[in-house]
Amino acid sequence: MSGFLSLPMAELSIWLALPIALLLVIGGLITFIGALGLLRLPNFYQRIHGPAVFITVGTGCFLIASMLYFSGTLERPVVHELLITAFVLLTAPVVSMMIMRAAVYRDLRARRKASDDQTDAYQFPEDE
């Protein structure tokens, strides 16, 4: 662990190092807050909003920081992190929509089983 921490990072110019450090700190805080939301919010429909925070914004911060860092150290523009950005931006919404829909259908099904009415009209899961 001490070797891990004392391993020297490359010396970059201050105008590159400052935004990288800032982005890393902001991304870390956002990731922490998002996961905290996942842990301590009281019900599922609130919890689903916790990870959404860090999946979009936290990932964006870290990827920009990584792009800046490698462009600085390798002294050529490194843009392949944009692939992960594009991929996450395309897929994360689909995943959250599918999980939300699974939760809604399961709740509807549980309620229908409990109240035993065969209505097919759509109702929001929290409507009573």
């Binding site: 990072m9 970059l12 450090a21 990731t31 996961a35 990932t59 150290t73 995943v95």
Partner: protein, 93 residues
């Protein structure tokens, strides 16, 4: 000087992501419903991807990028499959 600043910021970010991984793991174990677990597993994938990305910066190696890309891909496919199973999987209604 800037190296020290970067090391400190990176250590902080790694700590935060590690805590996020632990929180997601706790939620994965606690449940209480199946959709909670799927959501926690999906966030766990994403946090693990971020962790590997940060390790790539830490060791100044571009190789970690491919690992992060593969984790993002497999995480997407497995989360979609699990969510789809939750929608259609219960045969007896």
């Amino acid at each position: 000087m800037t190296g020290l600043m970067l090391t400190a910021a990176l250590g902080f970010a790694l700590l935060c992501v590690m805590l996020a991984l632990i929180f997601c793991g706790i939620r994965l174990l606690l449940g209480p419903t199946a959709q909670d677990r799927v959501l926690a597993l999906d966030s766990l994938w994403m946090a693990a991807m971020l962790f590997i990305l940060l390790l790539g910066i830490r060791f100044s190696s571009v190789v970690y990028f491919e690992a992060a890309l593969v984790i993002a891909l497999t995480g997407f496919v497995s989360s979609i499959a699990l969510a789809k199973f939750l929608i259609r999987g219960e045969i007896i209604e």
